[in-house]
Structure formats: C-alpha cells, structure tokens
Amino acid sequence: MSGLAVSATINGDEVEYLCQAEETLLDVLRNRLGLTGAKEGCGTGDCGACSVVLDGKLVCSCLVLGAEVQGATVETIEGMAKGDTLHPLQTKFLEHAALQCGICTPGFLMAAKALLDANPDPTEEEIRFGLAGNLCRCTGYDKIVRAVQAAALEINGG
C-alpha cells in the first residue's frame, strides 16, 4: 500500500504506520491501529470525544493529520489504566456514575487528566471551563464534575 510512513510513540510503544496525507490522527488510531477508545462525535473540534494528548498537549485527534504525528508522542485512553489498575479518574467516574452511554467518556477522561496534570486542585469553575471542549448528551455534566473533584481529592492524598 502506498502512503506516508510515520513513526511515533503511542502509549509508550514505538509504532509505525502508513497513512494517506488527508487522514486524521483519529482515523489512524481507530482504523489502522485498532485503538478505538477515541470516538468520532463530530469530526469538527466541537465535542472532544476524540481527545488525546499529543506531545504533552490535549488536542482533538480529529483536527490533527496522521502525518503530523511523525516523531511525536501520543497518549490515548488505552494507556490510562496501568495494567489492571484503573486511574483514579476512571475509578471515580464509575463510582459517581459519570457516564451513561459512554461515548463521551474516553474524551472526558483524557481532558480531565490533562486538567489535573496542569492544575491538581481546580475549583468547580475551573473544572467546568477546563472541560468545556467536551460534550455529553446523557449525564448533565454534574456527575462528571463531581467525579473529577473526587479524583483530584484522591490524587492529592485527601
């Protein structure tokens, strides 16, 4: 198959793939690498369901070309749990019922982790602004905010 050869580090693993120039990182993750955690809600940067961390920065993978990732580091939801041990955010999302259909959840978890990595003790307002790029049609957001607050408390040893 023809295409651009790209090598990148994805969830700590060296990965090589071929992709077309117009293919997005989201398409590459889902269709070529079998990493289907990131979801396509809109494809236009509005819903955040496709959120991943690219070179340490939270991005919408639907607005990144697969070719742009050459030499970069990508973290996806698949790398969040360490083996069988869930990340505190994942545990708190379950405990607080912060998901219903679950399609938004991988994106919310990636965005919430990026938020807490940058700001370990956010106010409720900071959480709501920090997650404004993620849409959820089911939960009404409150449970998500509570879960993030609880996770922050746990991570900070509270």
């Binding site: 236009t44 940067g45 509005d46 920065k57 939270l58 991005v59 070309l65 938020l115 790029g133």
Partner: protein, 286 residues
C-alpha cells in the same frame, strides 16, 4: 493531496509558490482541517509550518514582541512578559475555542482565516500589531488589519506566509482589553467583539487610543472616530457615551440568527465602553 513539513521559511514559500494546484498553509489546523471535511473542499498540498524553528518562539526584544506564526494560543497564555504588556491581546487569543483548540490554534491562523468574527484580531488591531510576511520576493511588513480583505479572503499573494506578528513594547501608563459577546459562556463565535488600547499621561488623561471592532462588518474595523471621542479625556461618563455612539455608528453588521443589525450596533457600543473602562484601569495600574 500532498503533505509537506519544511524546516525553513524559504522552503515553505517555495513549495507554496511552485505548486500548480491549490495549496494551503497548515498551522494549528483548527480552521483548515474543519474546512477540509466539507465536500467542496479541495487541496493538492498542505504545507505544515510547525517544524520551522523560527516560527515556534516568542522573541522579546528592546523594541517589542515577535510572535512566531506557529506558537499556539495556549503558549501565549503562558508567556508572562507578553501577558503583562498586552493582557487584552492574550485574553483574546485565549478565548478561542476549548483547551483542545488552544493547544493548536495560532493568532496568525486566526488572522489569515479572515473570519469577520476572529477573536484575536480586534485586540491585535487595537494593539497596532504588524504582520511580517515572508514570500518569494522577500519580506514585507503590513499592519494586521491589511491582511483580511473580505470574509475568507486575504491580501497574501501565492507563496506568502505570515511569519511573525510584531507588537511594540508598552510605554508607561498603558493598557488594553478585549471583550466579546456570545450567547453562551464558552465555545461560541463572537456576535460582536471590541478591542481597546490606551496610553495615559501623568494626570490620567488619554494621550493615545485605538479602538477596533469585530463581527460587525466584513472585516475587522479600526474606528478612528471612537478613539478621537476619548482622546484628551479621563474617560468620564460623557466621553464613554461618545465612544459608544461612535462605535454603534461605525458598524455595518449583518442580520442573522445570532444577532440583528440593531442588536449588534447597540452591543458594539456597550462592549467598547466596557473594554475602554478595563483598559483605562489597567493603564492606571488599578
């Protein structure tokens, strides 16, 4: 489509100039890659400018700030000196989109996308910012307001790239601000935006002023009459009234589902006076 990632401005410019088909500059991609999904979009080439080292930094010199075209808005928000000198410009840049969008979007992309509602543009115009443009014939400098010429259209020629946005250092007693009106609290397109930049003398009298409006005409507007209305004043009530009237009178907005002509005119005046108030307080160090 071809994707290229040159490492120098010269290579980027040459790639763009030599292509026979449609070529686009790819900065953060938060406008371009959205457009790329529409059916009638066609590109033969995208030239990614994020690997050009000189476009990836903010230089602070004795003259001012040189902001590389590939610097993300999130990085501008982390630049302490720029934020201290030009809080309005940085606030405007940081209003764009969500955390995800901030990681990628640039003010040069915001400018070159040429949307009438681009948030950072009125703030840059109020700040007197300049675009340094690299092209096949060398470099040229224009005021940022000369870049967008119509919705979605710029004055850039084939092979030309906005390399840097330059903004001067601040004299003492100066301040700027940008405010926008959106129907929601986050993640929306400006119905009106207003940027104001002021410098005061020792007595608190306005010595110089620039007022710019967004989303009320096909391109950003620098409203000289609005600046004149507050020059020589200490922004008393009457001066603010005249500022608001001048802004409302200057607007040439459209009617759409997001706001009527009448509403936009009114809000332009209201936002300009609020932004002027903030800029004034900042100038006094209040």
């Amino acid at each position: 489509m071809y994707y290229e990632r040159p490492e120098t401005l010269q290579d980027a410019s040459r790639l763009l100039a030599e292509t026979k088909g449609t070529a686009y500059i790819l900065a953060g991609g938060t406008d371009l890659l959205v457009r790329a999904k529409s059916d009638h979009f066609e590109a033969d080439l995208m030239v990614d400018i994020k690997s050009i080292a000189e476009l990836r930094t903010v230089h602070h010199t004795a003259e001012g700030f040189a902001i590389g075209a590939a610097v993300s808005c999130a990085d501008l928000g982390r630049h302490a000196a720029l934020k201290a000198a030009w809080p309005g410009v940085v606030e405007a840049a940081n209003l764009i989109g969500s955390a995800q969008i901030q990681s990628r979007c640039t003010i040069a992309g915001n400018l070159c996308n040429a949307s009438p509602a681009a948030d950072s543009v009125p703030a840059m115009v109020a700040a007197g910012a300049r675009a340094i443009i690299a092209g096949p014939a060398g470099m040229r400098t224009v005021p940022v307001e000369a870049v967008p010429v119509a919705p979605g259209k710029t004055s850039l020629g084939q092979g030309e790239i906005v390399a840097t946005i330059e903004i001067d250092n601040r004299p003492p007693r100066s301040g700027d601000a940008y405010l926008r009106f959106i129907p929601r609290t986050e993640m929306d397109i400006a119905v009106v935006g207003a940027g104001v930049s002021l410098t005061l003398d020792e007595t608190g009298t306005i010595q110089s002023a620039r007022v710019a409006l967004g989303a009320v005409a096909p391109t950003v507007m620098l409203v000289a009459e609005a600046a004149d209305a507050i020059l020589g004043t200490r922004l008393e009530y009457a001066a603010l009234e005249r500022l608001a009237e001048a802004c409302s009178a200057a607007c040439r907005p459209i009617n759409d589902k997001r706001g009527t002509v009448e509403f936009r005119k009114k809000v332009a005046g209201v936002l300009a006076r609020r932004a002027a108030r903030i800029a004034y307080d900042r100038s006094r160090g209040a």
